[in-house]
């Protein structure tokens, strides 16, 4: 019997699975936070979650609405200052995986969270870089998760807020003391990895029921597919029930004040 699930759930479960037990993850708010906590509540009980608010090794019962919710501090091993977080823990090389979302991404995994349009006369002003520019370069590797659409997967990002592999795919070449960069991108349709040589994103796995054409349609450039394209494993009963309980708890918690 197959359990019903949404494409959003498929995305979160797949993103969660990417996190290895015992690894140290610097967690972005939103989708990454959901995936990272699902990982912690399923296959990766000893994953270490770090939020930029200074909360080290936190185990929130409910998903935080903001990066600095009280829940994160109350369930953390300890809470350090924000300068210490960025200096000792991120730049100091203690983070295995940075888990990011984004508003726009291009074929070389460059991320834009700054604006749509021209910098001096933006069509849409987005929140800005936040922690991402240095998470992307100072963490061991980067996972990115976001919804797949031609609005998000664009031929050229309007602004490189955060380095993937640069406009030409060579942005990390020869740069000392830099992380591996994005190693996988997980959407509601598929999983992509950068080509080891060109760094261009390649679809390596389609979620069950998703066609290559659907992915192409939702992507703003002619996207490459791996020769042997896998099918992502569907969410298990366990993964779904844990995720749904987590989201229910979260909704109930944030519904009050």
């Amino acid at each position: 019997m197959t359990t019903q699930y949404t494409s959003a759930e498929m995305m979160t479960v797949t993103a969660a699975r990417a996190l290895e037990n015992g690894s140290t993850c610097f967690v972005g708010i939103g989708l990454p936070s959901e995936a990272a906590n699902l990982a912690r509540l399923t296959h990766a009980p000893d994953v270490v979650l770090i939020y930029e608010s200074g909360t080290l090794q936190t185990k929130p019962e409910v998903l935080p609405l903001s990066i600095g919710d009280g829940e994160l501090c109350e369930t953390a091993l300890t809470t350090v200052s924000v300068p210490e977080m960025f200096r000792y823990w991120l730049q100091g090389g203690k983070v295995d995986v940075g888990f990011l979302g984004t508003a726009q991404i291009d074929r070389y995994c460059n991320l834009n969270t700054t604006l749509i349009g021209d910098y001096t006369a933006p069509k849409v002003r987005l929140p800005g870089g936040g922690g991402a520019p240095e998470i992307a370069t100072n963490a061991g590797e980067i996972f990115i998760t976001l919804k797949h659409s031609t609005r998000t997967f664009v031929d050229e990002v309007d602004f490189v807020t955060t380095l993937g592999f640069g406009r030409d795919g060579k942005g990390r070449d020869g740069v000392p003391n830099i992380g591996k960069g994005p190693t996988r991108v997980i959407t509601d349709l598929c999983v992509m990895r950068p080509d080891p040589d060109t760094r261009e994103l390649v679809v390596v796995s389609l979620h069950p029921g998703v066609s290559a054409a659907q992915v192409q349609e939702a992507t703003g450039w002619e996207i490459r597919f791996a020769e042997t394209l896998e099918t992502t494993e569907a969410p298990s009963e366990k993964e779904l029930s844990v995720l749904r309980e987590l989201k229910d708890r979260t909704d109930r918690h944030h519904a009050g004040e």
């Binding site: 909360t55 990066i67 600095g68 009280g70 200052s81 300068p83 870089g129 936040g130 520019p133």
Partner: protein, 272 residues
């Protein structure tokens, strides 16, 4: 020793038109009461510094207090945009607001450098980002030992920093607990500082290595009960997440915002 003033007098004394003001609190302990007092006193042409502008700066910008914003992430956390900020940046309403943007790492290091009395912060940052193209305050230096290229940004040295904390003792020593953000750095980096607190106590009850800011490193302490509301104060009250969500609709519309401001800040006296 810190002087004890009421919030009105603290703001009147230390926040001048045209001043560079940092109001910090990383999601936690955001000094809303002090922000409202600045709005009520009609301060103008402020350069505001803050890593995460949040609703407090949306309100100050919407109220017309602000000329320039230095920040690294400007949004309503978990909800969406700061519409008053966008309206000012995109449509010059109520006035044009100039922005200068950094990354979190750079701003955190710049506060740290400011507290350390240095003119610059050095970090391994901005690699491959377009931010240095639009912010001329981001430069690069070469390490004299390794030759590595590293980013440098000016340290943050505000005219006045404003933070909220749980409590102060009768000498003005301040205890900050929980998510401590860059509050201590903001206070130490500034020429003057205003610390609002939930309460004054006889004894802070602090453990040996707690985050305590000595009274002699603070200009003034003002009591502001629920002074961080609708953000939260660890050990005192939770975040009003609902208000953060409701803010989206209020701030989206100029009329709704002005009405909200009139009712909840301008005519609300010192208690809002």
């Amino acid at each position: 020793m810190a002087e004890f003033l009421n919030l009105h007098d603290a703001v009147a004394r230390y926040v001048d038109d045209g001043a560079t003001v940092a109001m910090e609190g990383f999601t936690h302990l955001i000094p809303f009461a002090a922000g409202h007092e600045i709005i009520r006193q009609g301060k103008r042409d402020l350069t505001l510094i803050r890593m995460t502008p949040d609703l407090i700066y949306d309100q100050l910008i919407g109220a017309g207090c602000v000329r320039k914003l230095i920040f690294s992430w400007g949004g309503n956390p978990g909800v969406g945009s700061l519409h008053r900020l966008r309206d000012a940046v995109e449509k010059d309403y109520p006035n044009h607001v100039e922005i200068l943007e950094h990354s979190h790492a750079a701003m955190a290091c710049a506060y740290e450098a400011g507290a350390s009395g240095l003119p610059l912060a050095v970090l391994r940052g901005y690699v491959g980002s377009d931010l240095p193209k639009v912010n001329d305050q981001i430069k690069f230096i070469e390490c004299p030992f390794t030759g590595e290229k590293l980013a440098a940004v000016p340290s943050i040295r505000p005219d006045v920093s404003v933070v909220h904390a749980q409590k102060a003792d009768r000498k003005g020593n301040v205890l900050v607990e929980g998510i401590i953000g860059v509050q201590k750095e903001a206070v130490l980096a500034a020429r003057h500082s205003i610390v609002t607190v939930e309460e004054i106590v006889d004894d802070l009850g602090a453990t040996p290595n707690a985050c305590v800011i000595p009274g002699w490193a603070v200009s003034t302490v003002a009591v502001a009960e629920k002074g961080a509301y609708p953000s939260y104060a660890h050990g005192y009250y939770p975040r009003n997440n609902r208000f953060y969500k409701e803010w989206d609709a209020i701030a989206r519309d100029r009329g709704a915002f002005n009405e909200w401001l009139e009712k909840n800040v301008l005519t609300a006296g010192g208690d809002a």
